[in-house]
Symmetry: C2
């Protein structure tokens, strides 16, 4: 019998959204971008098919770090590249959270936070969001090594204005992590706070807005001391040569990303309107998904029925989320299909 | 001031071997393969330059897991895919090692083990290798959550026969990790032990023998309960679509790897003979590098002089290793160049 750490023994692993295959499956469950990565990205990946793959990548992913510094107008010392932003969240926890250290976040939110705190034997102090998912004022009264704000939040899609986040940062002792996985679909970013506060870390991913979920690229922005501390626990070569090249090319065609974001934002409005017409409450979304609720009406059967009809959406079987669906904004055609299937289910 | 965990605050990050660039630089410092990956790998990488990159990869890297199961003749439940074998070592530590848990390994060895134990607030119990780097018998008298044997060992290149490892495994309570990063250059593997013992984990990488250091692919083999426990702490999507495809293609052309290994093994003998002619003691190597020593004669100046002449080799500035160099087996031409520069330095 293998002796696993008790905290890991008790843990359920994170359950990623289903990756069902099939030509006619409409996949609206994992917040992937329905549009392809930029042509330059595909060219950069193809160009990696060379003997250079026998060489280790640059440990700090320097070309991508430099590209991110250029695009986001910071110095490279303020950037850290991760194997997806999950890798960066892991670094945050391993750097800052030891036994019994407290990590604060409003919930419901991205369930990985809880798992990562558990693995560190830290304690999660969670403050419930109100029904409208505005940031709970009680967060300001908490202390802890880390405060995480997922903004826009998942699964609600709701957005907290940056000045509200800034009031939380100001005078706070611990590190404030702003997980901006979905921020390119939102009105503003907390990135400017990095220049003003040494305890802010902003996380980005190229998985959503840049259509690169399959490539695993995350970016962290913070002041140099914080970035250097995180880098200490980083796997030496955490980002492959291909991911570095793809990331550079993606940032180089920022306009491609913005164009796709604009299309998704337009479709998001159509999706929300369609869902409201079907008697769903839809929270205002600043992400590439919407959160649609029918109060007190468990949506697990709806998810299952949609799945049987070849449309995947996300359902979370927890008390606060059971009456809701999280639906990725796909193409207009995909959204039409979803809405038609929902109508047929009535 | 950011409060970093004390163990991380005190830690020096792992220092990867230098990645100096330049057309005429001979890079013999990071144990990369001098020969390119198989043509099928390059084709597979190029084929990944498609809109599919917008999709998340399979969380368990199933196609690669299946390919590894086929090639190594185990069931897929006995395989776990990592973002390099460093990622797998991190999973081992996060799954098995909590505060004050003991991790045993002979030293000097791969310095990452110590860092990973430190991050977990565990304790490293190290048993010194004798001068010939045979496995210290005192290991058998230790207890601990994990015992790690790097086999062949780095930086010594020496190989411990599998039956010696098996005597350590038998009746041992903790998990025995056999880090076989270099095993394709060695006479035998501990992989058969996985079938017989539930506490053995064998780690492999495609970085060395398969010429894929730039792609980040590691494989762990163990019984299903151990693999499932490790998977719980795995990043959800730790291996990219490109790495999965490249890994499958690499394993599909096993003969390509074996051909390159045979060339490297032949060159290794020439390198060892050349170094002995220059009055180095050379340990018998079962890896793609050799460990060459001049007793009591600090090799830091030799490394620096070689570097100035465009030849990179690895030197470790620790008391037990200071009088040695670790030299990667390159092509015959690269080895001729190294030996010529060493001769010129005399």
């Amino acid at each position: 019998m293998i002796k696993v750490r008790p905290v890991v023994e008790r843990m359920h692993g994170y359950v990623p959204g289903e990756q069902l295959r099939g030509a006619s499956v409409v996949k609206l469950n994992t917040n992937e971008n329905p549009y392809p990565p930029a042509p330059g990205v595909l060219a950069a990946v193809a160009a990696c098919a060379s003997e250079e793959l026998r060489r280790y990548p640059d440990p700090m992913a320097t070309p991508l770090r430099d590209a991110a510094a250029r695009v986001y107008d910071v110095t490279p010392e303020r950037v850290l590249v991760g194997n997806g932003s999950d890798d960066l969240l892991t670094m945050v926890m391993r750097t800052l959270v030891g036994g019994d250290d407290v990590v604060v976040y409003p919930e419901p939110t991205y369930s990985l936070y809880d798992m990562l705190v558990t693995i560190q034997e830290g304690r999660s102090l969670t403050i419930p969001f109100p029904a409208d998912f505005t940031l709970p004022p009680a967060l300001a009264d908490t202390t802890g090594r880390v405060l995480i704000v997922c903004n826009p939040n998942s699964p609600s899609g709701t957005f907290t204005p940056v000045d509200v986040i800034e009031t939380l940062v100001r005078g706070r002792d611990g590190v404030v992590v702003v997980d901006e996985a979905y921020v390119d679909f939102a009105p503003a970013s907390a990135l400017p706070l990095v220049a003003r506060y040494d305890n802010v870390l902003v996380l980005r991913t190229l998985s959503k807005s840049f259509s690169l979920a399959g490539m695993r690229i995350g970016l962290a922005f913070g002041q140099p001391a914080l970035i250097a501390a995180l880098a200490k626990v980083k796997d030496s070569y955490n980002v492959s040569r291909v991911a570095i090249a793809a990331g550079v090319a993606a940032l180089d065609d920022y306009a491609w990303m913005e164009r796709n974001v604009a299309r998704i934002v337009a479709t998001r409005a159509r999706l929300a309107a369609g869902l409201r017409a079907l008697d769903y409450e839809v929270l205002p979304s600043a992400a590439n998904f919407v959160f649609a609720r029918r109060r007190g009406d468990d949506q697990a059967p709806v998810q299952a029925a949609l799945r049987a009809r070849g449309v995947l959406v996300r359902h979370f079987a927890t008390p606060r989320l059971a009456d809701a669906l999280r639906i990725t904004v796909g193409t207009d055609d995909e959204i039409d299909r979803l809405l038609a299937e929902l109508r047929a289910l009535r």
